[in-house]
Amino acid sequence: MYAQMVKTARSGVKPRDEMTEQERAFQDRVDANEKIEPKDWMPDDYRRTLIRQIGQHAHSEVVGQLPEGNWITRAPTLERKAILLAKVQDEAGHGLYLYSAAETLGVSRDELIELLHQGKMKYSSIFNYPTLTWADVGAIGWLVDGAAIMNQVHLQRTSYGPYARAMVRICKEESFHQRQGYDIMMKMAFGTPEQKAMAQDALNRFWYPSLMMFGPPDQDSVHTAQSMAWKIKVATNDELRQKFVDQTVPQIEYLGLTCPDPDIRLNEETGHFDFTPPDWSEFFAVLKGNGPCNKDRMKARITAWEDGAWVREGMLAHARKKAAATAAAE
């Protein structure tokens, strides 16, 4: 998902008889669906895992602006441009909500950004793929935001209060993102043969990377169990991936496009679609920094941060000067 392969300190769930009294009381609160709030006691590993997860999620929102931002100046109509601008602006807001949630855990936003720039924190693998045509903007809204919503809807019930509240806001805004993406896909799929071919091409390129967004298969996902016990993960990678496939296949059919997986078919027994899993070696390569756009993305982020430093410093200096002058006049 937007947070993939978030490491917890251990694999497997800490057994109850190994917990301290404080940890047991904490787990009881989580089990009773009570929200954990910033000043409440929490296990160090819970705090650390959350910082990693929320931080990665926040970075993804911000880096996620880059592939779509690429098309703002080239949107085909003024209306599409205004829509895309609004969507990309939303992503900046989502980054802000999430950084704020992470900050309640005792880490600052600047520290998180620093860790990203040093390569010590990650963002979602999906944003390392290029947006080659306008149809990609449609495919991203439809598939990438669609996959993100799958996960975020569950996270509205996560145990950490500030994270859950950020998710509520994000989910409200995210549904516009997915619908505008599908709207672009409809326009193109029902347009000229050339437009339809572009839509098909975008689907072909974004299908497997979208499936990868949910993270590795459950059997290889050693951190899932503890995160689920803490309710900072509410559904497993494979569950969400299956749900996404089941929802998306009929949408592909409606568009008159073809799923790039030739073996995809409805399993009459399970009622779910059987599908070919993505190439996980590609996923791990992208996560390691070897996707098509990793270097560009990081360069764009670092440049923006460094080139903006004088503005941040100047505004703060001005605010301090003004505050001092006001204090002196009183």
Binding site: L96, S108, E313, L316, A319
Partner: protein, 94 residues
Amino acid sequence: MSSEWPLWEVFIRGQHGLSHRHVGSLHAPDAETALRNARDVYTRRNEGVSIWVVEAAHITASSPSDKGPLFEPSESKVYRHPSFYDIPDDAGAM
């Protein structure tokens, strides 16, 4: 000197005359910028008609460990609720 902007908490009054409600936070160098940024981030879809911002460092919050002493006493005071009193139907609407 740190160049990190201070944190502000944002409160918005919705359309229907309700109280300002906490909606989130942001970083800004001063109150004026905080207000402008709050407008850009938190009222992009007609969420409000008025904004308050307050520097997070100026908020005094109750501590989680005081939850018992602060809030438990009211649990036993059921007579503070209208449903505590049985008024016969014959007395009419009340």
